[in-house]
């Protein structure tokens, strides 16, 4: 039984837009900056309601990051908005020096992350951003899984202090996390019970992990689905507790295997509780044009692939322990 059944589909980027608007209304220090993608990243409502606190910087992402860092010096809480590719790879050094190393309270909000950006293709589909931001000292990395959670994560960032990266996406996806579920930065969410295998998922693939759990249940395998919405700092305690309960795990993310959630979990597993591990992720390649669902399918990121990986890792566990 899927406890999280929903027929509602909404964009995670729209959750960001709503969260930002809410923050604008409740915290006068919150300001927003955008590099010519205001409607695309759903900052338009904030821009209309708070024109004096919204900065259109044009197609100049490096300048945007620097201005955001400077605004913190006057006590502002800047949220920058553009696509994930231009939020990270294009401005890595600006983030590194002016935000992270300078420890400034800038919230880097990145839309259209991953393959599900779709038809624009690989120039825009960054699959390395989690890795880039995870590596950076001082940086908090948050990847919410649906509309409600992106809204909640955005609001939570308003009262968080320090550099942060918030990753979300373009397409409409199932909105299944109850709006009432509290969002605590750094706290993993166990979404289902199950003692046979852990599935650690993040972002859009959390929903696919839930679907995979149903498929596994039909085969008599009980999967424990854990939503890792905060990739850094990782909820190591929850990860190890789940690994000890299930003895094997699958990770699932719309990102390269190198540097992503799988890497983060594998590090903790190897150091503290080594168990068989499988990773559902993109393998060392760029994306391409296509519809979001077609791309997830082609690159092996949908529920059946997660279920197959879970079956494999469950078998590995039984062959080593049995």
């Amino acid at each position: 039984m899927n406890l999280y059944h929903t027929d509602e589909k909404k964009e995670t980027r729209a959750g960001f837009g709503e969260g930002l608007l809410e923050l604008g209304r409740t915290n006068p220090e919150v300001v927003a900056l955008c590099a010519d993608l205001t409607e695309s990243v759903r900052m338009d409502a904030f821009a209309v309601e708070f024109p004096s606190r919204f900065f259109q910087v044009g197609i100049a992402e490096a300048n945007m990051i620097g201005i955001a860092a400077g605004l913190t010096i006057g006590g502002k809480i800047p949220f920058t908005g553009t696509f994930a590719n231009f939020s990270t790879g294009r401005v890595y050094d600006q983030i590194r020096q002016s935000v992270a190393y300078s420890n400034k309270n800038v919230k880097i909000c990145a839309s259209h992350a991953g393959l599900t950006l779709g038809e624009d293709g690989a120039t825009h589909q960054i699959l390395e951003d989690i890795g880039l931001m995870r590596m950076m000292p001082k940086m908090t990395v948050i990847v919410p899984c649906d509309f409600n959670q992106t809204r909640a994560a955005t609001i939570a960032l308003g009262s968080h202090t320090g550099p942060a990266y918030l990753r979300f996406g373009r397409p409409k996806v199932p909105n299944f996390i109850p709006a009432s579920l509290p969002f605590v930065i750094g706290q993993a969410q166990q979404l289902t019970d199950g003692d046979d295998v852990s599935i650690f998922a993040t972002g859009h693939l959390v929903w696919h992990a839930i679907l995979a759990r149903e498929m596994l249940e039909e085969k008599g395998i009980q999967a424990r689905v854990i939503n890792i919405h905060t990739i850094k700092p990782l909820d190591t305690k929850a990860v190890i507790a789940s690994l000890s309960a299930t003895g094997c795990a699958v990770t699932a993310e719309e990102h390269l295997r190198n540097g992503g959630l799988g890497d983060a979990i594998a590090q903790e597993a190897a150091r503290h509780f080594p168990v068989p591990l499988e990773m559902v992720a993109v393998d060392n390649q760029f994306g391409e044009s296509g519809k979001p669902d077609e791309l997830l399918e082609k690159y092996g990121l949908t529920a059946p692939y997660i279920a197959a990986a879970a079956s494999r890792v469950y078998k590995r566990k039984r062959s080593t322990t049995g």
Partner: protein, 278 residues
């Protein structure tokens, strides 16, 4: 003015002694900008060294974008009271607050932003200037960049934005010594008609002799007087790299190289003690 000259001479001594003690650092640009830092901190800026705050509310704030000339800045910060003078002796050494390039994690009073990777300081200054406007704080934001530094594209993103948004509580100074690591700026990648470029971007442009204290005082006073007139302000500050030490002038050789002790002695005899060494 006499006092400012004395301070600037002492700052130059500090620079030589700091980079010599560390056997690394960037004396050339530091010497060239010693007069500017001195005039800025001891005459122009409204600031309270005893009450440094990161947000800088109610004070003028300064950002050093070309972070490699940190020795001169650190010297002026210490001598204007931001931190104890003896700390200058820790420059570039392990466990120091005086990092090779300015940083904030060690919480050195006076420093609000890390710099060293070039081209970022003007953007930061614009952000701080916008925040001052939003906060109703009438104080000013000062930024210093190198001349080679403005080969970085981000500088021109920032230049375009500041004029478009009328960021007129900001005074940018460009250390125009026409030297960078690989040689004369004109030969590496010429800046062309720099005055025309900034004017075309919509800035009010002033020029000054950065190694003449009275010229600096007059130009910075003029710059302050034209703030609030819908244009950001750029000062082309003509300096001589290595100014004050004969063998460091007229060459880019001393951009990023420390003198050995014997060379340092030859420099220090040209820079008499005025305020007392750290």
């Amino acid at each position: 003015m006499h006092d400012l000259q004395a301070i600037a001479t002492q700052v130059r001594r500090d620079v030589i002694r700091m980079v010599t003690a560390a056997q690394s650092g960037h004396p050339g640009g530091s010497l060239g900008c010693a007069d500017f830092f001195t005039v800025l901190y001891f005459s122009v800026m409204k600031h309270d060294p005893e009450h440094f705050s990161m947000d800088g509310h109610g004070q003028d704030v300064f950002f050093l974008s070309n972070g490699h000339i940190s020795p001169a800045w650190y010297s002026v910060l210490a001598r204007s009271g931001y931190f104890p003078l003896p700390e200058l002796g820790t420059f570039r050494k392990l466990n120091s607050r005086l990092q090779g390039h300015p940083a904030t994690l060690e919480a050195l009073p006076g420093v609000r932003m890390a710099s060293g990777s070039l081209g970022q300081g003007l953007s930061v200054g614009i952000g701080a200037a916008l925040a001052k406007k939003m906060n109703g704080d009438p104080h000013l934001v000062f930024v210093l960049t190198g001349d080679g530094e403005i080969q970085e594209g981000q500088v021109w993103e920032a230049a375009m934005f500041a004029a478009a948004r009328k960021v007129d509580n900001l005074i940018l100074t460009i250390d125009y010594n026409n030297k960078q690591i690989d040689g004369p700026v004109d030969e590496v990648v010429s800046l062309g008609d720099l005055r025309a470029k900034w004017e075309a971007f919509g800035w009010k442009v002033l020029e000054t002799n950065g190694n003449d204290i009275s010229s600096l005082l007059a130009t910075l006073a003029k710059a302050k007087s034209v703030c609030g007139m819908n244009k950001p302000i750029a000062i082309l500050m003509h300096t001589e790299m290595g100014y004050g030490v004969d063998y460091m002038m007229g060459t880019h050789k001393w951009h990023g190289m420390a003198p050995n002790p014997e060379q340092a002695d030859r420099a220090l005899v040209q820079l008499p003690v005025t305020l007392g060494d750290y």
